[in-house]
């Protein structure tokens, strides 16, 4: 077995960290530009129009919208709160909230480049499906209690 390399000193450790961050800088900046564009182009009232009144279909739509959008979870709470007030079901809003933070189409290129393409595909697809399951389960438990 190969002998493990000696620990790097502070200078080497700092250079290595700086290189890794520099490597990811263009991807991170690109993602932030995309998020800023989406935020400016899509009015918040637009999302409520997309829902039907069928819970399962709405949870799918909620998960889809949450996957496409990105940003601070705080924004998703405010949007989700507005959706609830406008009559969108709790299952759909929950799927939206969960997908908002767990699925990232906008961040996908960054995730694929830094963590691996296959990893990013499997993680995002499974998170999309899980958002619907988590929403159904959460609302079911809340209604039970």
């Amino acid at each position: 077995m190969a002998k493990e390399k000696a620990r790097p000193n502070l200078k080497q450790a700092t250079i290595k960290a700086a290189r890794a961050l520099y490597k990811s800088l263009p991807i991170l900046l690109g993602v932030i530009v995309l998020i800023s564009l989406a935020n400016a182009l899509i009015p918040k009232s637009f999302y409520t129009l997309l829902f039907s009144k069928i819970p399962l279909l709405d949870s799918f739509i909620g998960s889809t919208i949450g996957s496409i959008l990105a940003g601070n979870p705080m924004t998703s709470y405010i949007l989700g709160g507005e959706m609830l007030q406008q009559g969108v079901s709790l299952i759909a809003v929950t799927a939206f909230l969960v997908a908002w933070v767990t699925v990232g189409i906008v961040q996908f290129p960054a995730e694929a480049m830094l963590l691996g393409k296959r990893f990013a595909i499997v993680r995002n697809v499974s998170a999309f499906v899980l958002a619907i399951i988590v929403a159904l389960l959460t609302v079911f438990i809340v209604n039970l209690i």
Partner: protein, 170 residues
Amino acid sequence: MRIQKIKENLSAWWFLLIIIVLAVIVFLIKPTALMPSLTFFWNIILKIIPVFVLIFVLMVLVNLFIKSDWIVKYLGKSAGIKGWLFSIVGGILSAGPIYMWYPLLNELQKKGARNGYVAAFLYNRAIKIPLLPLFIYYFGLLFVIVLTFVMIIASVFQGIIVEKVLEVWK
């Protein structure tokens, strides 16, 4: 190997260039989107600077003190429940946008961290303690407690799914 790395880095800069060109086209078609986009962009940059510094410091510390065998022990194949707990707690405590953590997680992957733990860490980034009061204000305490609990369980499931699928998809 070195040429491969240079190519990867160049493709990252190409990615940024394409996004910038796309943004310029959007602003030419819809000039009113320029100021809100720039303001939003600037606000995100201001918000992530402290997180960027925190992640930089964490990466230096990881390079300096954390050896590959430590990662293998606590986040590797045989870490078991300990690994899930580290990923869940780490994900909940981590601050800032999700994409800021990719470089650090990439370093951990290289040192031997399991893909399932990385996925669970990313899933638990959804639970943010400082935001809980606002979340409770909009959705109520019961809903937030149940959702948090369900999401922690789901994060482990997701970690397992990601690992199993990646094992098959080689």
